[in-house]
């Protein structure tokens, strides 16, 4: 079995474009949430991303993905051709909405098959990078999409089937997504503070994250992925099973497979959406598995819930945090659900082993176990 390393990464979110800007803004007191204007159709606060369009590329997800690739191009082009795994839940829905009225009235010649379905992203990437990218497939399992794509890439690398991969998680917000989540009564009407007693729902976000995985990195890597596991709740389409049995089983399987003990885990980056039920169940699971306490935060506090992109964007931000041995936290005047676990402010903490949880509709659970590799002088894009 091979070891699998994260050798390069970047992200685009409300915190900024690229690791440098995101890292800088992570440390600031500024809140990057967007409060809609009266004229906006969608009225609830969310975390917005603006990226310039590439020439002839109309999909926002594609533009984010291309921007991500360009941010770390200097590194991954040395590895080309390289397999590409994509994770998304929205694909081209946003652009279909923009053209829908004209489509229905037969007033436009919009290439629906090329721009709506999820392959639009890999097609736009292939058009630019041609034979430098071998695209594998697009995974779509709602909010756990990015984690599932990482899991697949990890397994293929670990078993020596491939020796390198790019994994991109990307999602752009559309009215369908925003109004849909609000209809499920999952969205905060003020501003989400995950893992707090005052939480009243999630705040949606958009953006993308990119990781380069290698078994024999060209350069000193940032982290090693020790294991990745997945289970299904088998309970409800949009709510977690109340006791979190399969979430717990997933974490235990992942930690055991990593060859370490639950006690060895230093930090948990929670799925932590800010909904009443998700955070309650997730913390119940964590407290049962780690009764002595553990540092737990949710990166969604800073960037919102970026849906299919979440696991990879959040891992990128975690890697940035861990370089300085700091866990950033933004609770404001809110109270952590449990202070034995959730800090109420930014803390210094040396971390070796950490977990990334990711849960999605349909009761889809993924847990990744990672090990930090010390390289304080290395700067990423």
């Amino acid at each position: 079995m091979k070891k699998v390393f994260i050798s390069s990464y970047s992200s685009i979110s409300a915190l900024g474009i690229g690791s440098k800007e995101s890292s800088y803004n992570l440390k600031s007191d500024k809140d990057f949430i967007y409060y809609p204007e009266k004229s906006d159709k969608y009225k609830l606060p969310f975390f917005k991303v603006e990226v310039p369009d590439y020439k002839n590329v109309i999909n926002k997800c594609s533009n984010i993905s291309l921007r991500l690739l360009s941010l770390i191009e200097e590194y991954w082009l040395k590895l080309a051709p390289i397999p590409l795994f994509i994770a998304t839940s929205t694909g081209g829905i946003r652009e279909t909405e923009d053209n829908f009225t004209d489509l229905i009235n037969k007033k436009c010649d919009y290439p629906l098959f090329g721009k709506h379905y999820l392959n639009c992203i890999s097609d736009d990437i292939k058009n630019k990078y041609k034979d430098k990218i071998n695209n594998f497939f697009t995974i779509s399992t709602a909010c756990s999409s990015a984690a599932q794509a990482l899991l697949k890439a990890f397994l293929y690398l670990k078993n020596g089937i491939i020796d390198k991969a790019i994994v991109i998680g990307v999602d752009s917000l559309s009215l369908t997504t925003m109004i849909g989540f609000d209809s499920l009564k999952l969205v905060s009407h003020s501003r989400s503070i995950p893992l707090s007693l005052e939480r009243d729902g999630l705040s949606l976000g958009e953006g993308g994250g990119i990781l380069v995985l290698e078994t024999e990195p060209l350069d000193e890597p940032f982290c090693e992925i020790l294991s990745a596991k997945s289970t299904s709740d088998g309970f409800h389409i949009s709510s977690p099973e109340p006791e979190g049995k399969q979430q717990a089983h997933c974490i235990i399987k992942a930690v055991t497979s990593a060859g370490i003990d639950l006690n060895d885990i230093d930090y948990i980056n929670a799925h932590g959406t800010g909904t009443l039920i998700n955070d309650e169940v997730e913390m119940k699971v964590i407290k049962n598995l780690f009764p002595q306490g553990k540092t737990v935060t949710s990166t969604k506090t800073f960037i919102g819930h970026t849906l299919g992109a979440s696991a990879i964007i959040e891992l990128s931000l975690v890697i940035d945090m861990l370089k300085d041995d700091i866990i950033y936290q933004k609770m404001g005047k809110n109270t952590p659900m449990d202070k034995n676990y959730i800090p109420d402010k930014t803390v210094n903490k040396k971390i070796k082993y950490f977990i990334k949880n990711s849960f999605g509709f349909g009761g889809n659970n993924v847990c990744l176990v990672l090990k930090k590799i010390n390289n304080p002088d290395k700067i990423n894009a």
């Binding site: 909405e97 999820l118 779509s140 020596g160 299904s232 349909g362």
Partner: protein, 300 residues
């Protein structure tokens, strides 16, 4: 690089408007449907599948999309029969819950709704179909959904060729539903009707089953290959089937086209055909993507 072993395909189920059971499938084969294009029109599948999901609880069924109903039904009849805890289930769908998405976008953009039905929204998520299956059966298996529109066949090939090297069993599911949404694109005219399949891919320990042979860079390379020359049963997509039938090459040519019409995922059905029809001896399964020919041998 891990070893490229043989795999067997078992617990197959196919559902469309003409097929519910293996007997239906065999009868159509005996009629010559998969070898004779002249009877395709009179046996064309339609958008309505009678009694689909008849075993589902009625209240739940009313809330589910056609894709979810079809996926639950086909897994229940097929690969779900011998489901083990460690089996991964992978759903391939070209277009996902597209009719649900169509309804939601129409509600928001055309009808100006400020809210949508929550059931409709969570049904629009690609992964819901397998999610419903796990809920109905109370199972906790690792489930994934892969979706790439008209290129989902290529995604399947990439997935299959790499996943086989893990040397583990897994379950393949495909499903697509019917939607008027797909007629909104003026430039693409495809016959896309509901069709579903599930099967289990299991490690074979006795040298029978299927395995990936090669990707040929041209038709001439394929025709010159010894495996092609020495194999009588050739399974191809519609276009190559029609081309090769006229070529005069003395082999038995089959195509899955009447099962799926223009659905891009014909390869998922084609690769299971020799197993479902119990065609003994050697077969070749060929998928043409961008003038490259991906080739699998089958030995039964």
């Amino acid at each position: 690089m891990p070893e490229n072993n043989f795999f067997y395909i078992t617990d197959i189920s196919v559902i469309n408007s003409k097929i519910k059971t293996q007997n239906d499938y065999i009868e159509l084969n005996e009629k010559g449907l998969f070898q004779n294009n002249q009877i395709w029109e009179s046996n064309k599948i339609t958008e309505t599948i009678d009694e689909l999901g008849s075993s589902l609880p009625p209240r739940l069924k009313n809330r589910m999309s056609l894709l979810s109903i079809g996926v639950c039904d086909v897994v229940d009849r097929g690969a779900g029969k011998n489901l083990k805890e460690e089996d991964e289930l992978i759903l391939f769908t070209c277009f996902g819950e597209i009719e649900t998405t169509n309804k939601i976008i129409k509600n928001i953009i055309i009808d100006n709704f400020e809210h949508v039905s929550p059931t409709l929204f969570h049904n629009s998520v690609h992964h819901t179909s397998l999610g419903y299956y796990t809920i109905l059966k109370g199972v906790n298996n690792w489930c994934t959904t892969i979706s790439d529109g008209l290129k989902t066949n290529f995604s399947f090939i990439n997935f299959l060729n790499n996943n086989l090297l893990l040397n583990q069993n897994f379950i393949v599911v495909h499903g697509d539903e019917y939607s008027d949404f797909n007629h909104l694109d003026k430039n693409i005219h495809l016959d896309l009707f509901p069709v579903f399949i599930s099967y289990k891919v299991v490690v074979s320990n006795n040298g029978v089953g299927f395995k990936f042979i090669n990707c040929f860079n041209s038709i001439d390379e394929l025709l010159g290959d010894e495996k092609f020359k020495n194999t009588d049963n050739i399974f191809m997509d519609k276009i190559n089937f029609l081309k090769f039938k006229k070529s005069g090459i003395n082999k038995k040519f089959f195509t899955e086209y009447p099962l799926v019409l223009d659905n891009p995922c014909g390869i998922i059905y084609r690769i299971a055909m020799p197993f479902y029809l119990n065609i003994k001896g050697a077969s070749l399964i060929i998928e043409n993507i961008n003038e490259k020919y991906y080739c699998y041998e089958v030995k039964l």
